[in-house]
Subunit: 342 residues, 2 copies
């Protein structure tokens, strides 16, 4: 097996490579069942966070939610509906009056070349739930100051904003010669990716700190591996280990240093039921997320053959793959916007 569906993160992106849209059999909408599982697994955790941790000081008649890295749906719709329901429940138990007049504005963010067309045509919300699409990189500001009450990001923050420059420089000790992703074996490469990952998290957190109201929440889900798990010697395993180690560092240093958020919760999720390993589905899943990057590097000519080959390889290495998949977990981080005074 070459590498798994979660390794896109360390390939890096100097421009955006949206998930496959449209009505193709390879589209993200039909090939994101795993990500849907992650959303289901966090439903109760997010509901609990909203009940216990959401702490909006100033009264509002419009509750604003944003999904950062929404892709084309339908996963984003399910996540947003879960949040809306939890917020309504909270307000109903607090003050009858507010809940009755409360309206929601739900913002869907992704790169401008995301397939917003399919997202817009399948939007399931109607008044008092108002939808809007916000195109642009979530490493930059996307909303006016203190206008969001809750931010959500699922399976998006593992994408880097660009390939680190050192990695692209053939004369640098961090040059990633011959590799298509961040290998664990070379310290310089690892550190270059690590540093890019930290920078991207910092720019994300800085932007959200401005956009969220005091007491507002930011819920983040992304792939990782459990502490102490022995990473397999495959690319996927090593990348996941690196990601996990980065995330620990984020939580312990970067988020705290950022000084505008408190970490309210951070844990590993287990999807209640993992699908049985299916080489065809796994290959389709990977194509839905990674085709854009591959076409950009190698052209369109190889794509069909490449994924046919991957399916075959996955099938032939079924035993290894099944074991490896068991080491996958998903991380959940809940941040709360501090008062600006603190």
């Amino acid at each position: 097996m070459a590498f798994g569906g979660e390794t896109e993160n360390f390939m890096g992106i100097s421009k955006s490579y949206p998930m496959i849209g449209g009505e193709s059999a390879f589209n993200y909408a039909q090939n994101s069942g795993y990500q849907r599982g992650v959303i289901d697994a966090t439903k109760n955790i997010i509901a609990e966070a909203i009940t216990q941790k959401l702490d909006i000081k100033s009264p509002t008649t419009t509750f604003r939610i944003a999904d950062f890295g929404c892709s084309t749906g339908p996963n984003t719709f399910i996540a947003m509906r879960n949040i809306v329901e939890a917020v309504e429940l909270k307000y109903q138990s607090m003050q009858q009056g507010i809940a009755q007049t409360l309206e929601f504005q739900i913002y869907f963010n992704d790169h401008a070349d995301n397939d917003f067309s399919i997202l817009f045509k399948t939007l399931p919300f109607s008044p008092p739930y108002y939808s809007a699409g916000v195109p642009g990189s979530f490493h930059n500001r996307l909303f006016p100051k203190a206008t969001l009450h809750l931010g959500h990001s699922s399976y998006s923050l593992q994408w880097l904003s660009k390939v680190p420059e050192e990695v692209q420089d053939k004369n640098s000790p961090a040059s990633n010669k011959g590799e298509i992703y961040c290998t664990w074996t070379r310290k310089e490469v690892r550190e270059a990716y690590y540093s890019q990952f930290k920078n991207d998290w910092t720019s994300f957190l800085d932007a959200r700190a401005e956009e969220l109201v005091e007491g507002g929440l930011m819920a983040i889900q992304l792939p990782g591996v459990p502490h102490g798990a022995v990473p397999s010697q495959t690319g996927a395993g090593m990348l996941l280990e690196l990601l996990s180690s980065c995330l620990d560092d984020m939580a312990k240093r970067v988020i705290v240093m950022n000084n505008k958020f408190t970490i309210e919760r951070m844990e590993f999720l287990s999807q209640p039921e993992k699908d049985l390993f299916d080489p065809i589905l796994k290959s389709l899943h990977m194509r839905a997320t990674d085709e854009g990057i591959i076409i950009d590097h190698f052209g369109t000519g190889i794509v069909d053959e490449l994924f046919d080959l991957l399916t075959k390889e996955l099938d032939e290495n079924r035993h290894i793959c099944e074991n490896e998949l068991r080491t996958d977990v998903d991380l959940f981080v809940l941040l709360k916007r501090k008062s600006s005074g603190r």
Copy 2:
């Protein structure tokens, strides 16, 4: 000449027919110079309205603007930039402090099958000007209560939400047998369209009245003919006369009856310099706006031939067309959201 580019309004739309997007030579972006002229002609009027009439009671750090029926750009970008500049100027002259921290949220509304992709990829705004796309019919609510400060709609409100049912019913006295638009000759047809037009305006005004803050403004531009002008015997002329008569009625009765707006200003615009009559451009212009409706009725097969023929007809009837075009004017209506108490 069969009918002019402004006659789309009375053909009615039971579903949406977006302006042509993409990079085709027939797209709206390249074939909406006339509409651009209307925006230029209202720049100073809107700036004056913002200076003199905009009257936001509660202080705000985010100023929210929406363009209803934005199409694909770039006209909408020019209109929004004009508004932003006027609002900044107003706040600068009022209180230095507010102007320095003021941020803008600019919403672009059109049907879900509008080409939002090209709109999003060409967005010219960056912080502190934040953009969002809002898909949906502007005959319904699109925003939470009292969240917009200024609404804008240029060359959009002449579109009807649907063909009146009586007109589609072959057994009704209002059946529009054999005609592709609302003819002036048959009273029942005229009244059916007229009634639909009033209903559509009422639903538009009701929705905007909820969405605008007290003292907020709604600026509307649309095609018409001057009072007292003798309508030519062509379809275009008659339709424009009907539109104008409807609009008068709206202003005098429907808007006032709606009771949530005051009419601050209502006048005819003259575009400072009209382009010379060009059969090819006129035909392209019409194709950019009307192709969707025509394809829906007649299929794609006839489109190229139809517009080639139209160009030829326009060229052969150049003298009639030139005279007729001189009777075109554009109407500007400025409404202000009343206090809910009044």
